[in-house]
Symmetry: C2
Subunit: 195 residues, 2 copies
């Protein structure tokens, strides 16, 4: 039985994901990740004996899986519903953080690995691929051209991720709102529904 005062493994991972989405990985120490999750450094090393790389990898996997779950739940109602849920996650994070937080998968992706291919970067690639695969499946299931579906799924993920960055720089949700409207029209066209 865990004591209720002890930080859970998941709380540390979730805190690290938030911190990485704000500050990036290279600029953040494991001490700062632990502090941001309100976890003692000892507990953090207890759960993540390999240190920052291990925690960062799990944080990216955690964020990737959380978004995949939201996509899976919403895509049953069609790719446009999945798109809206995907956008709502990020709009919520960006707005609630006053444009200071964003996507930890994106944050890790735009940092040069210092040596080799770190597991956190591999986890980021896998998160993008998972989101693309879920969108592709839903597009195909709802009537989109089989060949065209993967490209459209990549467009959705890329445009939403890029818009997160634009919103943070511009301190406005305009880019996410515009991208939402454009992507919904493209998806409706691809599944044969008029906008």
């Amino acid at each position: 039985m865990a004591r209720s005062s002890a930080p859970s493994r998941e709380r540390i991972v979730a805190g690290a994901a938030d911190m990485i989405s704000r500050r990036g990985l290279n600029a953040t120490s494991i001490r700062e990740l632990a502090k941001h999750a309100k976890a003692p450094l000892g507990s953090t090393y207890h759960y993540f004996p390999e240190g920052k790389g291990q925690l960062a990898t799990e944080a990216v996997q955690y964020a990737g899986a959380a978004v995949s779950r939201i996509l899976r739940d919403s895509l049953d109602a069609g790719p446009a519903a999945g798109l809206r849920a995907f956008l709502d996650v990020w709009r919520g994070i960006v707005v609630e953080s006053d444009f200071r937080a964003g996507c930890p998968v994106l944050a890790v992706s735009v940092e040069e690995p210092l040596d080799g291919i770190p597991p956190a970067l591999t986890a980021a690639a896998e998160a993008f691929e998972d989101w693309e695969r879920l969108l592709t499946q839903s597009l195909r299931a709802h009537g989109a051209d089989t060949e065209q579906a993967p490209g459209l799924a990549a467009l959705v993920v890329a445009a939403v991720e890029g818009a997160i960055a634009m919103c943070r720089a511009q301190r406005s949700t305009r880019a996410l709102d515009q991208v939402a409207q454009q992507l919904e029209a493209v998806i409706n066209g691809a599944v044969g529904r008029s906008a």
Copy 2:
């Protein structure tokens, strides 16, 4: 007369832009920016007496203006030609750096400002807006709906920026290639040309 061995102001700015696109801003010191540009720290402080923030701001402005110039030159031939030139810049940087470098404007945008709104973040917002404005003008000039053009321009910038991040994580140009094809079809549809 500058001695030919002295690093030019522009070379330091260009080197800083490259370094920021690789490592981000928070994780990079002015010493590292100078070293990456093969400039003595003294010359760097001579040109940028306010330090890292000043150099970073000029680096983001430099990258933004360089891309704006490429867009302006290519968009005369139409928005699809502009899109191709925009994509070619980033594909070249991503591939030539073996997926280690990307877009300095994007890198600055996904980092939480440590206090206030730093000028480098404002410069990033302005770079995105400038690219969007150039694309909007070209879309309108080539027959796109006046109301729809700004949204489509935002989609282009967001999707290309997001695809840069996906390519770096996935160590593949697939996302940029897919986004290129999708965006060209959307643009051709908007300006009334069949793909």
